[in-house]
């Protein structure tokens, strides 16, 4: 367990030294929000209409920013044979995956924490039910990062890695994305826990299933 944290800490330390990835992720997700806010300008006055498009916009921003972050997650390891070094460490292969996943998770949550308030400002939208919104975003992000980290390791071996990652990732995260968007929508409309319990359960199932499967198959992804 502690070794997993070491790997996550290594990644984060590397990232915070330059903040290159984090900056571009945040900027990108803000740009998505801004672009949507401009294109939807005519309906921003009516909160009813905003509530219809808001969850989608928010999740698109997260997912786009997440995909660019994830696509770099394993590229850095390829340089100077870092991945070889990691594989030589006396830890299970799945620990590498878990550590990487946690580091990506932290980055994405940071991006989301910055994006949500700006989203509320740009869309002129008062956010209600912050606690449950946080839970939904957390669970949705876990699912996204679970699959994303695995596919990031997978696409790093391919010719067109940055382009291929979203192509592979989006169909696979669809089952997490749909309940996440629906639950976000309900919460923003002022629903309580009872209305979104089904969605939350599905998100939880998705997270657990994909986390476990990724643990099992990660070994095959990085073996040479």
């Amino acid at each position: 367990m502690i070794r997993i944290l070491h790997i996550a800490a290594k990644d984060l330390k590397e990232e915070f030294r330059t903040k290159q990835m984090l900056n571009s992720m945040v900027l990108f997700s803000l740009l998505v929000i801004v672009v949507f806010s401009i294109t939807f300008a005519p309906i921003l006055g009516s909160s009813q209409d905003v509530a219809m498009v808001a969850p989608g916009v928010l999740w698109i921003a997260f997912i786009f920013a997440g995909s660019i972050g994830l696509s770099r997650s394993f590229v850095a390891e390829l340089e100077n044979g870092c991945l070889e070094g990691l594989k030589l460490c006396p830890i299970g292969r799945s620990s590498i995956y878990t550590g990487k996943m946690m580091a990506n998770m932290v980055l994405m949550l940071l991006v989301e924490i910055i994006t949500v308030p700006l989203f509320a400002i740009m869309f002129n939208f008062s956010i209600t039910g912050l606690f449950w919104l946080g839970i939904i975003i957390f669970l949705g992000t876990v699912g996204f990062v679970c699959v994303g980290t695995l596919l990031s390791a997978l696409t790093v071996n391919t010719r067109t890695r940055e382009i291929l990652l979203p192509v592979l990732l989006l169909p696979l995260v669809l089952p997490a994305l749909i309940p996440a968007v629906m639950a976000t929508g309900s919460i923003l409309m002022g629903a309580s826990y009872g209305d979104i319990s089904q969605e939350l359960r599905l998100l939880l199932v998705y997270d657990v299933v994909f986390f476990l499967v990724a643990q099992l198959v990660f070994e095959y992804v990085i073996q040479d």
Binding site: N157, T158, R159, L164, L168, A176, V209, Y220, Q223
Partner: protein
């Protein structure tokens, strides 16, 4: 030699004949369909007898991909990889046909080609996952690595499909449930032997077609590999 006979002659002939029989049954043998109110349903309902067998066959294809991907990762036998890639390619075509036949039928009965509705969205997700699978195969250099990575994706993709079905089921469904719900409003249960017989013959015909296509595809792939080997040995 007899195995070769079976593969090259009997399988295609058998699947062509069953296909002809299946189509013939749909056109000539089926009685008019009666709706819930006793009114005669449109001829368009007959596309169902293509639609559902094709859907079943595409699920079958992706199950084959899933199982042979696992077997490849466990055993490392290359023939499993050939099987999974052949089944995936044929399966994508079937998944596409599900969308096409479904859309045609939807246009005739619901009035739109497409509705954002559970079954339809699941079929679309299924199709997209396996298109991505084929794209992935094309993007990896090196046969061994390609087989390994594609197997991993084949497993992930298969797991995501039932989950996406569950998640999309949170929406209210307009898709008819053909079995288990005899009082359904749109189509309802399938009753009557002639209908069930037609459906059965169609399912058999499409599964046979699938097997034939996969067998031919696998043969193709093996010949291609053989050609590559020969080419490599010449260099």
């Amino acid at each position: 030699m007899s195995e070769r006979m079976l593969r090259d002659k009997i399988l295609p002939v058998l699947s062509a004949m069953s296909m002809l029989l299946a189509i013939g049954m749909i056109i000539f043998y089926l009685p008019d369909m009666k709706g819930a109110m006793g009114e005669t349903l449109d001829m368009s309902f007959r596309i169902f007898y293509f639609h559902m067998p094709i859907a079943i066959t595409s699920y079958l294809a992706f199950t084959v991909v899933f199982v042979s991907s696992i077997l490849f990762l466990r055993t490392g036998k290359y023939s499993y990889d050939i099987l999974s890639r052949s089944a995936a390619e044929v399966g994508v075509i079937f998944a596409f046909l599900v969308l096409v036949t479904g859309s045609i039928w939807a246009k005739a009965t619901w009035g739109w080609y497409w509705v954002w509705e559970p079954r339809l969205t699941t079929s679309l997700a299924l199709f997209l996952v396996y298109v991505a699978y084929i794209v992935l195969r094309q993007a990896v250099d090196g046969a061994d690595k390609r087989a390994r990575l594609a197997s991993v994706f084949g497993i992930l993709g298969f797991i995501s499909v039932p989950l996406s079905f569950l998640s999309i089921r949170l929406w209210r469904s307009a898709h008819p449930l053909m079995f288990g719900d005899t009082s359904g409003s749109s189509g309802g249960g399938l009753e009557g032997t002639s209908l069930q017989l037609t459906l059965l013959v169609n399912v058999i015909a499409f599964v046979l077609l699938f097997i034939t296509l996969v067998v031919y595809k696998m043969q193709n792939e093996m010949m291609e590999e053989r050609a590559d080997e020969i080419r490599a040995s010449l260099d």
